[in-house]
């Protein structure tokens, strides 16, 4: 898929673990793993909002468009 999720990168920058982020935004680690691996079909605005708030970043820092 041409949309790449750079959540791992942001987590390293903020020195935060996946488990912590999952707890803060209120989703399971399994779902966060689906999001990180790019298997997710869609992201809810509410989830995106929570991630941005927790990592103190913009949606563009997490999502990137890369041509195939």
């Amino acid at each position: 898929m041409p949309i790449v999720v750079n959540l791992d990168l942001m987590l390293v920058k903020r020195d935060m673990k996946s488990k912590e982020l999952a707890q803060i935004i209120g989703i399971t680690t399994a779902n966060l793993s689906i999001l990180k691996s790019g298997k997710a079909k869609a992201v809810r605005f509410s989830t995106l909002e929570a991630i941005c708030e927790a990592l103190d970043c913009q949606p563009a820092d997490i999502l990137e468009y890369v041509e195939d």
């Binding site: 989703i27 779902n31 966060l32 689906i34 999001l35 298997k39 997710a40 079909k41 869609a42 992201v43 809810r44 989830t47």
Partner: protein, 185 residues
């Protein structure tokens, strides 16, 4: 006395309708359907064996002796053709039973129910179409009157088969929607 029996039959019918249609529990309806399909499957298997397993002693359970003595089905090609398509219908019923079992165990949307419904549909469509040709189209070519022929059963199986195809497509569509919903974070 007759009036009492009629009233009893009406009451039983109303209870039956209540249990089947007016009950809001969806899984209960599917369970009812499952039991009906199992019953139909068993009845059809016994009926099939009754036809295939030709033994006078066995047949005396179902026919009177005079009929048994005149009963020689294997000489008739139509009998073997009928039995073959009857068997297809029974296998189709078995797949419906498996599909319903998966509905009950795994919920409405699962891939197994889809594939089993499609298999049952295919068998029913084959069985219904060929039976229709053998029982309706062939006799018509031989000069039989259309209104003498009984086409209800064959058409019913054909319509059931096509209906199952539609149901299978609906289930598949639901599967895709469910998967997308599950993968929306």
């Amino acid at each position: 006395m007759k009036l009492l029996i009629t009233i009893k039959n009406y009451c039983l019918s109303i209870i039956f309708i209540y249990l089947l249609l007016l009950n809001n529990n969806k899984m209960k309806k599917i369970k009812f359907l499952h039991y009906f399909v199992i019953a139909l499957l068993l009845i059809n298997i016994i009926w099939f064996l009754r036809y295939i397993y030709y033994q006078p002693k066995f047949h005396k359970l179902f026919f009177n002796i005079a009929e048994v003595q005149n009963y020689a089905p294997y000489k008739d090609v139509n009998f073997l053709v009928d039995m073959f398509f009857y068997l297809l219908t029974i296998v189709g019923l078995f797949f419906i039973h498996l599909g319903l079992y998966d509905f009950i165990k795994k919920g409405f949307f699962n891939t197994k129910s889809y594939s089993r419904s499609r298999r049952a549909a295919l068998l029913f469509v084959i069985s219904g179409s060929f039976n229709f040709v053998f029982h309706v189209v062939n006799p018509l070519f031989k000069g039989r009157n259309f209104f003498e022929l009984f086409i209800g059963n064959d058409f019913l199986i054909l319509v059931l088969g096509i209906g199952l195809y539609v149901l299978a497509d609906l289930v598949q569509n639901g599967n895709v929607l469910k998967q997308e919903n599950d993968l929306t974070i």
